[in-house]
Symmetry: C2
Subunit: 377 residues, 2 copies
Amino acid sequence: MTTKSKYNILHLSTKVCAKNKKNPKELAITLKDIAEKTNCSVSTVSRVLNNKSKEFRISEETERLILETARKLNYRPNELARGLRLKKSHTIGLVVPDISNPFFAYVSHLIQRYAYNLGYSLVLCNTDEDIDLEIQQIELLRRKGVDGYIILPVGTKQEHINELLSHNKPLVLLDRIFHDMNTNAVVVDNKKGAYQAVKHLIDNGHKRIAIIQGLRNTSTNNARLAGYLDALKDNSIPIDERLMVGNDFRKENGYIETKLLLKIDAPPTAIFTTSDLITLGTLQAIAEEGKLIPRDVSVVAFDDIDYAPYLMAPLTSVRQPRDLMGQIAVKLLIDDIESRGTSKKEKLVLDPKLILRKSVMNLDSHKEEFSAIYSGY
Amino acid sequence: MTTKSKYNILHLSTKVCAKNKKNPKELAITLKDIAEKTNCSVSTVSRVLNNKSKEFRISEETERLILETARKLNYRPNELARGLRLKKSHTIGLVVPDISNPFFAYVSHLIQRYAYNLGYSLVLCNTDEDIDLEIQQIELLRRKGVDGYIILPVGTKQEHINELLSHNKPLVLLDRIFHDMNTNAVVVDNKKGAYQAVKHLIDNGHKRIAIIQGLRNTSTNNARLAGYLDALKDNSIPIDERLMVGNDFRKENGYIETKLLLKIDAPPTAIFTTSDLITLGTLQAIAEEGKLIPRDVSVVAFDDIDYAPYLMAPLTSVRQPRDLMGQIAVKLLIDDIESRGTSKKEKLVLDPKLILRKSVMNLDSHKEEFSAIYSGY
DNA sequence: GAAAATAGCACAAACGATTGTTCGGATTTT
DNA sequence: AAAATCCGAACAATCGTTTGTGCTATTTTC
């Protein structure tokens, strides 16, 4: 046994050497190597390593020998070859606007974890809210043969996504949605969330309420705007176009628009910011103007990020069920992948929740709202 | 011309139909399809599509026909097949502890963007600071045939990374490092950063300074701890073991350790938190105890995240050159990949910078430090 | 004791690309 | 008119797997 083992090791290193001679860089162990070493055919080796010994009546002796050799050579299947053959890459493409946005980062983390647990890797693409980049990256993912897509679309075009659908590619839309598209989707009820936020401001006596919008004509923005408008309408508050500003989900947008809002004739007493990054800009602008939240201006935000409770003013904001969203997205997608189209398309709309903190002042009582601080934590 | 075009279109759709008959799910266009359609051989088609018409003297006529047909059929190269043949996947593996950590998220975003611009996609892996997960995921990346790795290692084991190196895999270590490993690496000078932070506290009259550490025995933590100790030593401040707490980079760690710190006999007047997430927990704990920053306790943080200026107390913190780090990491890696080992291994240590805000109180003058607020913005 | 069954495995064709070599014929050269 | 040249492309091997089929002993069956 000892001598045999020794012999094997010697033989092994000779072999590796030979490989390295041909190409000093690397050269991985393949089925063929194992086959040659065990005097079996490649097919037998493959079947053994795929646990099909019984099915193809491979003798236990052969099986042991092959398994042993594979282990000793440190065999590592080539997933590219496997993917080519099986038309399956065990990879899903994740397309997000911007992974450095904490909301997306959080959801991405969840997605990666769930996907990994189910045997899938993630190829990450940022679109930077650029629709052309989105189109390009999806094209690339397609060439790479990903098994499915989780897309948080920019939202300004949708033909490329329809293209995927028409080719029966498993796909889940997340966070943002196209209403007329028959696909899996997971979103929060943005309209409801916005309504709650604005209603809360109204209940606290605010009448001049500004909204800083994100990218126009995206489903998210449309819905949040609709919630804002509905809340005003239901409470007979006139709509003032000058208070409906913004067109980008980023920080700079929040900063600039807030600066401008604070300078108009009758400035708003409250601002509804439609994303966490916008909120950051808003906070910066308010601080720069020497004003305090909520004393001088109240703020309700969308996206309840981890930092919300610890900001200058603990933020009252609309929380999305982030954990659920990621988990459901992966589940829908993988069901879709593994059932190859037989699964029904599901459109899930989750409920948002308004988290009360200390960024809203009650104008009627001239006191800050009372709220359980850190209620979410 | 018109009729010919029409004919082509009809012919085309028939073809697609035929494909769909065989397998209703999908079936992509391949070189073979183009070859059949143009009555050329697969090799000719391949060469034309790879811009090698001149080199292999393919007639302009044939070239045009093939290009046209490829466009019309919407040909999309199969990167799996190409990767198998060329032994190159144009993919790099990014291994981070936790993408939902804003620092990592930011760096990841940069990495993805640079990599994409250079023609590489990113496979994202979270290790959740679990060394076994890290080992598993790197193993998986290897099977997937990624061309290189950018790794922010957990840091508690390194054999698996040595394994990669010994097989000549292109690799860049980021943020965390193994000192005795001959590899590309990009890190910030953690010791220097920590020293600056603690020195700043000392300069403001603090003597009881706590450090909340991250994961022990990681290069990052060791260096930050060393900086802390050096600063104390250089200023003849005795070391108190009870003030050196913590063992995890996460929020919960910051929360718990701060709670405990505030309850000991002679509580610290200042806390140096070694990561942004730890800081969050610290803020929460301080708020819960009804204390104010910097009045009751001063805080200096590591990792200058986007939110730092807008927190309850605008944070004085050590900023890492995030943009540089991402950019350099990608450049080093891709140089390594494309030169296949001939490029020298570089170990880059970047300078941190202490950003002064308002979370430190000057104990001597009993006034808050003066600092340009939002100086970093 | 011959036919049939079974055990144990090998052969070879895919998957979709790339690439070194070959090959047929038109043109030019000798 | 034969040989050489060159043009334009086809052939076939290859990358590492998976998998349908085929083949040869040995064993079972009647």
